[in-house]
Symmetry: C2
Subunit: 333 residues, 2 copies
């Protein structure tokens, strides 16, 4: 691999000049520039980004830490980040890390990507690494939380109003006459899920009902676990009128459980869920849900981070709250 020295030698100039034509960072006489460009082409020279990063202390790489790229919510969010960064015209790349809600895994990822000197971080924290993250933020390292935040860490964040969206969803169920409403809760250490549970309780309380602990089933956040959780919901005695699923994997597992029990929705039991799917229309039953603007959340996170990286914004962290959309379909009865 040719280096900048080789180019300089071949063009009969100094490395400084080559560097400057490469970066367009100072005037170079047209004829000189031409010779340099020719040498670059001749040698098929490619600048070494690692050496460059070392010198400039900036890598052009951003870390994205989420729980599961297989979740359409996150893949959509990721796309929002990627498209936005590209649209900004930066040659930034994204290192994607899936924590699967595991704090140790998250910690390990944090260690290695920080060692790699990423310029900034976008993350949906799994919880459990508050101290580490607080230390990062304290030394001004750019961090943006997305989907979830950590009360112990003050950083830029983009979220939705989970509590109010959940409240609306459950109120809708109450409006349709359902009273015995179960909740299938994903057990993540995520404040977003906690807020959704609160919204559920709010709605019940507003209807003069108490949240019955027996009506709550917890499940790990993957489809298989949610399926088992869904069975548990259906096996409650007496069977609930309706069930609120706290995220899209819960909904998918719940629907699978309905199938397994040969029950039909909404006839036998109604269902509402947090999160929509890209292919919701091909689903049966058609799910009544709250859709999060996942792509836009990624987009906003990228913009927040970019503003910090470019020092276009300094000072205290800000919170961007994006609106959700209520989609009334068949599953709510």
């Amino acid at each position: 691999m040719a280096t900048i020295r080789d180019v300089a030698t071949m063009a009969g100039v100094s490395v400084a000049t080559v560097s400057h034509v490469l970066n367009d960072s100072r005037y170079v006489a047209p004829e000189t520039k031409e010779r340099v460009v020719a040498a670059i082409a001749e040698l098929d020279y490619r600048r070494d980004g690692i050496a460059r990063s070392l010198r400039r202390s900036e890598t052009g790489t951003i870390g994205v830490i989420i729980s599961d790229i297989k979740n359409p919510f996150f893949s959509d969010l990721y796309k929002g980040v990627e498209d936005t960064i590209n649209g900004l015209g930066e040659n930034q790349n994204l290192i994607l890390c899936n924590t699967e809600e595991d704090a140790d895994k998250e910690r390990k990822y944090l260690d290695v990507i920080m060692e790699k000197r990423v310029d900034g971080l976008i993350l949906a924290p799994a919880g459990g690494n508050e101290d580490y993250l607080q230390a990062l933020v304290k030394r001004q390292f750019p961090v943006v939380f997305v989907d979830r935040s950590l009360s112990a860490v003050r950083a830029d964040q983009v979220v939705v109003d989970n509590r109010q969206a959940a409240r609306e969803l459950v109120r809708h169920l109450l409006d349709r006459g359902h009273r015995r409403i179960a909740i299938l809760k994903a057990t993540l250490h995520a404040d977003s899920i906690d807020r959704r549970v609160e919204g559920y309780e709010d709605a019940l309380r507003a209807a003069g009902l108490a949240a019955d602990p027996c009506l709550r089933v917890d499940s790990a956040s993957d489809i298989d676990a949610a399926y088992r959780g869904g069975l548990a919901v259906l096996d409650l005695d007496p069977r609930p009128d309706a069930v609120f699923c706290t995220n899209n994997f819960m909904t998918l597992g719940m629907v699978r459980a309905l199938d397994a029990r040969g029950l039909s929705c909404p006839a036998d039991i109604a269902l509402v869920g947090f999160d929509d799917f890209p292919w919701a229309d091909s689903f049966r039953p058609r799910i009544t849900a709250v859709a999060q603007p996942s792509y836009e959340m990624g987009r906003e996170a990228a913009l927040l981070l970019h503003a910090r990286l470019r020092k276009q914004r300094t000072g205290p962290p800000i919170t961007v709250t994006l609106p959700t959309t209520m989609l009334v379909r068949d599953s709510s009865g």
Copy 2:
């Protein structure tokens, strides 16, 4: 940020010694080591991976270039890569790039990640950058193709037998008595899709039927485009008995089109598709499909690349062909 010099000074040793305790690369007296470790902790020293990469000419970063992480096929594949790399105990990270089947975008991504000196590349090529990739391979840069390959570029690859799987799928349709079988084809520059079309033609030919060009509809590979393509299929006159969808987005779009036209499947028209979905059971109609082992494809790709990186395997490129699974459900009638 503390550097290795700071640590050396504080511990009263040379930088060489610090480096060696960091990398466990030569004997260091226990007491000395202890002082170094203490200094590291005291200063909260973190090694600079960029400087390290420059010196070692190895970054611990792998590029993954695919067309669309929102496609469950690819997100599953990505997970397979990630889990496998982690399981190998390497501190490798993955830079994920979505090309959206755009050769220019792919080229740009290639440029920037090569400049970042990734150690290797796993890619599902969009087509159009054969020369660039061939040059990479020629200078021994580790490249693994996955899902698709490029006839002009000889590199390790992991694929499935697309042609035979498609043939089986279409023969199944013929077995069920369907004769006028349309094909909804994703227009990618991917040999995998070409093989699927051939399989479709094989099956028809074997049944003594000619592939009628009128029965083929091309569509870009996203759900919205496939929806429009699906409408075109349904508007053929006379309407086909059945349709073969060449990938999962085609299937999704086709189903949406059925809905829009108020047609039911398989009663009005049968359907089979390449690729299964993680939540296929919640789909209506239940799709008869060929499932690809997407996660395992990612896994195998990671293993192939790893073997190259560690020089455990040298010599000519190899091809790993993984088996597909035929899933007969309702949509085929």
